[in-house]
């Protein structure tokens, strides 16, 4: 900053200080910059402590007890690691985790492939590309509750458009296409809806990545007579990769705790074929009222997501540094 600039800043600060009422100035005078900073951020920190950190520690405490929220008069006993042992040895929990992993894997794979392809196409800047971008983004803007409900109707074997469309293409009678009632099709019905809804989000992040690649790199590649394919593999993909990885991280975390869509579409059924971890957790916590047990399960899920996300972020940083 120049000398003149500094003088100007000092003058402004001086005039603000003079305008400060005397009693307030007297009070503030004793506080250091650091103190003042703490004063400003303390309401946010207190709020975070109250609604995030305290419940987390409370859940950790409850996970070592036999507490049940529907038995307020019962003595709460410390059960040590019993809840954790029971969860890790429970076959149903492992099945729910496998279902979750299956769901996360396929949704991310499909969303990334389709999302990146769409972003790449939109980035061609053809005529009307802005209009199409807006149209593609519509599903993402809808509420999951609305999406879940209308897809339930679309999947309806007797009146649903989806069943009729499949029937039209394959010749199988629509009444035999029970997307939500068939054990093999139900998991895919959720994957399809989630992909339909969230691919635009992945596309948007990928598009930001593609648009951040400087044009002169492609120009240099053109001068070197690099083919389009070569440009894609050596420039486009590596430079967009951190963005793609970021989208995968966001969608991965989100889908690991997916609840609303599954609950609305299948409720975890038929049987337990679409019962993802969050549905199991909700059932244990608020239907079976095993609060201690479900707290332990929630902590295990938290640690799993946190651990995996950390490993992933490290990998992401490495890619960025390349």
């Amino acid at each position: 900053m120049t000398e003149a600039g500094l003088t100007m800043l000092n003058r402004t600060a001086d005039s603000v200080a003079r305008a400060t009422p005397e009693p307030l100035a007297r009070k503030v005078r004793g506080i250091s910059d650091k103190g003042l900073a703490w004063l400003f951020i303390s309401p946010t920190i207190l709020l975070l402590l109250a609604i995030n950190i305290f419940p987390l520690f409370w859940a950790i405490y409850l996970s070592f007890t036999n507490y049940r929220a529907n038995r307020p008069n019962e003595v709460v006993r410390n059960v040590g690691l019993a809840n954790y042992k029971r969860i890790l040895g429970d076959q149903d929990i492992w099945i729910a985790m496998q279902t979750t992993a299956h769901f996360v894997f396929w949704t991310i794979l499909l969303q990334t492939l389709i999302g990146f392809t769409l972003a790449w196409l939109i980035d061609r800047k053809f005529r009307g590309h802005a209009f199409w971008t807006t149209i593609i983004l519509v599903p993402m803007m809808l509420s999951p509750a609305v999406v879940g409900n209308f897809w339930r109707f679309l999947y309806e074997p007797q009146i649903g458009l989806f069943a009729y469309a499949i029937s039209f293409v394959t010749g199988i009678p629509a009444t035999q296409i029970g997307m939500l009632s068939n054990v093999s099709l139900a998991p895919w019905s959720i994957v399809i809806v989630d992909t339909w809804m969230w691919t635009p989000y992945v596309m948007l992040i990928c598009l930001a990545g593609l648009r951040s690649i400087p044009e002169y790199i492609y120009e240099a590649a053109e001068v070197d007579r690099a083919s389009n394919w070569r440009q894609f593999w050596s420039i486009t993909l590596p430079m967009a990769l951190p963005f793609i990885m970021l989208a995968v991280l966001f969608r991965g975390i989100e889908n690991f705790k997916m609840f609303d869509m599954v609950n609305l579409l299948t409720g975890g059924g038929p049987g337990s074929t679409t019962e993802v971890a969050s549905i199991t957790l909700k059932r244990q916590a608020f239907e079976s009222w095993r609060t201690g047990y479900s707290s332990a399960f929630a902590i295990i899920l938290f640690v799993a997501v946190f651990g995996l996300a950390n490993i992933y972020v490290k990998a992401l940083n490495k890619v960025k540094q390349r």
């Binding site: 529907n70 038995r71 307020p72 149903d92 007797q158 049987g271």
Partner: protein, 443 residues
């Protein structure tokens, strides 16, 4: 100037007075919590008489069935003051009594000379008593309900269908009295063209999320010989829950689901059942009796087109039906318990109960249901009486919720998802239920 001052003073005092009066009224208002369904609307109508008689206003908090248990059990567990009166599900009675959510009503009943002998015995055991079969009352039987069946009388009476049915099965097409007959009828109607539309055999409960498939499957299981426990040794379930007869019962329910339900009916409960019947999709429809007044009035399927029958007999002639319905209780955290008790006293009155029935509620008072004119009072009244005479209920233990979740999972896994055998499902259920009772220190 004086007159302006007087006017201002007058208006101000009138305003204060009206605020004060409305505050008093507000303080006296009672909040009644229940599920959002047809009988709740009837209760709103009925309760206007209570307000007229006592000056106590009534507010209502109705929650859809799918969230009913979650919402109100949370409210009770957190000792909330939202509900002064609650019409809680029959299975909540154990937990609500033991956890102190409900006010014990014995002294009040004695004082007001309300006798439980005046109510249908099954409803007293089901809705009021905890422990069961002991004279400890926590609720007044409010809404009698039981699973029964409706059928398309107009389809059943078509001469060409009657002829074809007789030729095929050797007996007259009529409301079934056994489960075997029910399945034959369901198979007969499955995918049949009637009036240019494809119809299906039966709508049964298959819902996974709350209690649907348990409430449905139990109707088959009970009549096939399922028992919750050894009658001589409480909580001994092995050999009773998973007996050979129980296995046959569950296999039957799955066979009925596989052969004769409409496509996509894998998560069907009360609402979906009503929709299937009203839209003319099914020949028979399993549902709680509370749905009958609405169906009877329906322009397309009601009137002469609908018939009713009680849950049929099993292979050994046993006949039981799943109890529904609820009792009305005073919430112990309410500040208006006295006014709430006044409501219960008023509700127990014979005339009020008679009006309750006429509005579409299902009274549990003997004086109403044993009245000579009762069976003819509605087309479904006799079936309701027959069904209430054969009721059985799910566990009403404080741990009913995990017990229910276990049966929901085991039954849905087998019946709808087709995983494992009926024996596996019931063996698994014994294991799950044993674990719950061991956690409770009851085994």
């Amino acid at each position: 100037m004086k007159s302006t001052l007087k006017l201002t003073l007058g208006l101000t005092s009138a305003m204060f007075a009206s605020t004060a009066v409305s505050n008093v009224a507000q303080a006296e208002d009672l909040t009644l919590c229940w599920a959002a369904w047809d009988p709740a609307n009837a209760l709103v109508e009925l309760s206007k008489d209570f307000t007229k008689e006592t000056g106590i206003g009534m507010k209502f908090e109705f929650v859809p069935w799918t969230n009913y248990a979650d919402r109100f059990l949370n409210e009770l567990n957190s000792k909330g003051k939202l509900c002064d009166l609650i019409i809680g599900d029959s299975q909540w009675i154990g937990g609500s009594a033991e956890n102190g959510h409900y006010v014990k009503l014995n002294d009040f009943f004695d004082k007001e000379k309300i006798s439980m002998d005046d109510f249908v015995p099954a409803t007293v055991v089901g809705y009021s008593e905890w422990p069961k079969n002991s004279p400890n009352y926590w609720a007044l039987p409010a809404m009698g309900d039981v699973v029964g069946w409706t059928y398309r009388k107009d389809w059943f009476s078509k001469p060409e269908l009657q002829k074809e049915f007789k030729e095929k099965y050797g007996w007259d097409l009529a409301a079934p009295t056994t489960f075997d007959q029910l399945k034959q009828i369901a198979e007969f109607f499955q995918k049949r063209e009637i009036d240019g539309k494809t119809v299906y055999g039966a709508s049964i409960y298959t819902e996974r999320g709350s209690e649907g498939i348990t409430m449905g499957a139990m109707d088959g299981l009970y009549s096939f010989g399922f028992k919750y426990e050894n009658p001589d040794k409480p909580y001994e379930m092995d050999g009773f829950v998973n007996s050979e007869k129980s296995v046959k019962g569950l296999e039957f329910y799955k066979a009925l689901y596989d052969c004769c339900t409409p496509p996509g009916a894998s998560n069907s409960y009360m609402g979906e059942g009503v929709d299937a019947f009203k839209s003319g999709q099914v020949a028979m429809h399993m549902n709680f009796a509370f749905t009958w007044p609405g169906l009877q009035k329906d322009e397309n399927v009601g009137g002469d087109k609908i018939g009713y029958f009680a849950n049929p007999k099993g292979p050994d002639g046993d006949q039981f039906a799943q109890l529904g319905g609820q009792g009305i209780s005073v919430v112990s955290y309410s500040d208006k318990q006295e006014a709430a008790l006044k409501y219960i006293k008023w509700f127990a009155n014979k005339d009020v109960q008679a009006k309750w029935w006429s509005l579409g509620g299902f009274s549990c008072l003997n004086a109403v249901v044993k009245d000579p004119g009762f069976p003819a009072s509605q087309p479904y009244a006799q079936t309701f009486l027959d069904s209430m005479a054969i009721v059985k209920d799910f566990w009403a233990e404080p741990s009913y919720a995990p017990l229910l979740q276990a049966s929901q999972k085991r039954f849905h896994d087998y019946v709808v998802a087709g995983q494992g055998s009926a024996k596996d499902a019931l063996d698994g259920l014994v294991k799950d239920w044993t674990e719950v009772f061991q956690d409770d220190g009851k085994m």
